[in-house]
Symmetry: C2
Subunit: 661 residues, 2 copies
Amino acid sequence: MKPNEGRRRVIIEDIQPQVDAGRYPAKRIVGDIVTVHAAIFADGHDHLAARILYKPAADKKWRTAPLTALPNDFWTGTFPVDKIGPWLFTLEAWVDNFDTWTHDLDKRLGAQEAGGQDIPLALRIGATHLDAAASRAKGADSKKLKLAADQLRALADSNLTVYESPITPELTALAAKYPDLAHATKYDAELPLWVDRERARFSAWYELFPRSCSPIEGRHGTFRDVEERLPEIAAMGCDILYMPPIHPIGVAYRKGKNNAVTAEPGDVGSPWAVGGKEGGHTAILPELGTLADFHDLVNSAQMNGLELALDIAFQCAPDHQWVTEHPDWFIIRPDGSIQYAENPPKKYQDIYPLNFESKDWRGLWDALLGVFQFWIDQGVRVFRVDNPHTKALPFWEWCIAEIVKKTPEIIFLAEAFTRPHVMYSLAKAGYTQGYTYFTWRNTAAELRAYFEELTTVPVIDFFRPNVWPNTPDILHEQLQTGGRAMFQLRAVLAATLSANWGIYGPAYELCEGRPAKPSPGKTASEEYLDSEKYQLRHWDRSNPISIAPLLKQLNRIRHENEALQRNERLVFHDCNNAQILAYSKSSADGANTILTIVNLDSFSEQTGFVDLRADALGLKWDSQFEVEDLLSGERYTWNGRRNYVALRPWEAVAHVFRISK
Amino acid sequence: MKPNEGRRRVIIEDIQPQVDAGRYPAKRIVGDIVTVHAAIFADGHDHLAARILYKPAADKKWRTAPLTALPNDFWTGTFPVDKIGPWLFTLEAWVDNFDTWTHDLDKRLGAQEAGGQDIPLALRIGATHLDAAASRAKGADSKKLKLAADQLRALADSNLTVYESPITPELTALAAKYPDLAHATKYDAELPLWVDRERARFSAWYELFPRSCSPIEGRHGTFRDVEERLPEIAAMGCDILYMPPIHPIGVAYRKGKNNAVTAEPGDVGSPWAVGGKEGGHTAILPELGTLADFHDLVNSAQMNGLELALDIAFQCAPDHQWVTEHPDWFIIRPDGSIQYAENPPKKYQDIYPLNFESKDWRGLWDALLGVFQFWIDQGVRVFRVDNPHTKALPFWEWCIAEIVKKTPEIIFLAEAFTRPHVMYSLAKAGYTQGYTYFTWRNTAAELRAYFEELTTVPVIDFFRPNVWPNTPDILHEQLQTGGRAMFQLRAVLAATLSANWGIYGPAYELCEGRPAKPSPGKTASEEYLDSEKYQLRHWDRSNPISIAPLLKQLNRIRHENEALQRNERLVFHDCNNAQILAYSKSSADGANTILTIVNLDSFSEQTGFVDLRADALGLKWDSQFEVEDLLSGERYTWNGRRNYVALRPWEAVAHVFRISK
């Protein structure tokens, strides 16, 4: 069957950015200039023109931006996204008769001496194109185009022996304003973008247990205690303060200290065993304070330049009200009991997972959405979601879409450490940021391969890494055995490789490295000894081992250097010593470039030659330039692309160089 | 808004094969086993099951084939395509409760000694899964499943101290026959395949000018003369005999010998200037014979195991009837004249291009389709299309679809030498095979990069290269200056790198290398001197310079070795001499492997060490194996992966080794 219009000769293919052929939105940040690439071509040799159509999704009217041709039928263009929320764009391309003709005329004029070019006839053809443009234009433009057409005809009548080009840049621009779109090709699909606020791209997170915040050892901390800590955390340069679940904790099957199966009297239990007689996911553990205290904390945080992130853990302690009110939201076993979390032979009887295959999945989905809405109503704008990969992916796609429809500024961080497809699928389903495998990427080759994957297409368009050297669950063997320098160097890596990073403190800055079970060995564990997950801890933040000054320095450097505020333009540079990792980031305009060089060995001095990819640094291969170490304040003059570095971990684990060109 | 069914937890992504997300069909050959890859995953740790649904497009009922899991959520499976024409496939995946439960039970049974595994309850859960399967099954299977459920319950009641697994492979297979598809995910799209007959994949073409086939020099050749040549061409191992346009040739502005602007009396003109007083695209040049003669030629070709390919050149000589009957199919200039082909300052006044932006595009499309249909009705099944890239791409997509709807065995070869996107777009639009850049890929690095592109995803799924060392338009400088060995080595490359190849003869086998203008130099030309495009030629095929024996040998080797009949599994092997190109191809089962080693220097001996990628050859890195040179008959014993080769072009331009393992 013939198409409705067979004269649409232009083909548009391979549009970037797009995620899974437009099934999911590509992500950008408000204020970004979106760069579009596509292949656009037609039969034959006619000249084409093309443009971007773009708009906030709810707008009726498309805005337009030009596309320009690159070699080999590739085209590129840009457009700005100036508000958060959903956007759409698509492309339109057409045969540009006037431009084709202009090119043809130039060739004829150039061949006049050889004769036989019939330039008057060519001029009359051009006049028909201008007539057509005039009929599409209005007012003064239309008159100008008509006049230009008449002038071409007059020139054709003049019977000169030698002609000069009658085409001015002004006329070309005027004709281009009124293209003939009758047979234009519009790309089949409108491609979605999701535009977030800046914090989605650039953030420093600090996690703490409010219950460990009391200045008095042994006393249960409160929201008021957390308020006292805010200035210190803000001074460290953090943006987001994230607290594990703040809800009542189940009593039945409560875990004791160091994950003991049975709690002792007075044991506080795991905050992730959500729900007790005082309430569930929308209640507050009385020991922490009241809802009013929580509001105060939200406000104080804001006054300190911090945002509060809540931890949403969709699972229930046996005491949770949903267990009695909605037993059908759980898996009921043949003996009538509710299935607890289990990975045989391990049992987690303090936790009931929700059943996403419940017949009442609609009711369950609404209740979970309600939890987010409740806390949004209390002023929360950032959520860290616990184990989202054990909840149905279609639920997340719906839930997040429902939330951001009303409140597009919400940020969701997915705490998923699972297989790559599932991690990426959560990001596609709407998660703003995701935890990563950074913790387990330790060698230079591992780090390079992983961050190259994270910072290039397709991943960079939908997955924003948030990089944590530790979490309450994960004390990597490197931190158990690497000493203080390992804490320092992993912090440098996290803060400079990724625009989003975080630490679980004060364990991190105090270099807490004691595992629940000694490592390495068969029973190696990434659990902390005396983990805060099961007990109160009292941290001596005045201990001189603290690397808080380094963390503060790193966050200051990040705030002062645009290059570190994005993940685009991360480039690795070779070093002849595999213990040294070198990489740079640059701002979009190239004015700010940070070159980081890290000694991955926390015990020994490592030296080597770094081979700079000069082009990525905006340098000529043989140029001389200044580098300033933003950590030590030292300055060096570097020459050409091959330079010597030496790093002694007891003095400095890394250089964070700003390059002066 | 919630989906209709929120319990479809499985995600299916990244399906291969697909071309542009299913916009175009992936191409296969009848009898192929289609291998499917996809990413399939869900939240959590439940076990999944998945299958392929596939069918000829016109069938109502889907056939099914299993998918099996690979690491990291990738899945693979295969299905056969047993008839030519359009096929569809899609994937379906679901949570496999019984398999998940079996795995869970195994872990419990393994942990019995530790106690507390509550195996009776686990058995009762398994019984509910079997009950459910029984309700989905019928007859004997249903009874068996019900019985198995009852047995699990009885076992649960038996109160043993130690349990053994009650699950047999038979029970697992039986349960898997009746999966719970209530919440299965079916992939959004049905992906198209186009299945061709074998000749689409594996063919050797021979092009000749019928008018040069007279045994008597100076006399215009006829279809009968071509018939005389058929046994010789068939003996050379060719499959397809392709003739330039056989239609009446225009008289107005006819070109003379060597492309002279004005023809002398008696000049025969270019066959591509289609149309004269005797008729147009459906008529036959009287000098060649009658339609009856043509039918005889089709039949004789068939009796010789050859297929006839016609050249379809959609352009008109000024004498073509369409010019007077349908002036609106051409571009009419302001002075009322019809626009001839022109690339200022060059003019091709003997050719009127068709205007695909004609208001009567529908009439034009129908007429062009009618040309194909006419020749199909005369028994033609293969078309070589001249310059398809100067006709609208949407036209081709429609035209080819219309033709193959009725006659799916038609083969279309696109004679396009243009930008990559346009060449590939013609293939996507339906062309079975396409000419390539092979002629201009001369160094080892160029050949390797190009054939790696052609023989891997995505290109291999839609573009089938047909590789020609020469055409009547293209006498590459290498052939002008490289001597007989260059004709030999380019033939070896073409015949062994690509499953489809062709030559324009007898110019090729007689090593005709004289250009219209001497090369190299500013005026370098790829045109032949005394080109057959403009005059009759008489070829002395008994000249001892002829490399016909080599061509015959190459085609025999191709017919005897399955490895050379496909483009999959082309692997390049490094050589420390850049003048030597080494590559292998293997059959799907690995039983047949051909290793070709070509000296790209037609004048000097070249020697080097070839580093074999042993894995690609099905060899161990240190194995000893026999190689037989199928050109020379010589045999060698090779050891390990590094072997010495020496090729003297005056003795042998290449080794074509069959490897005996």
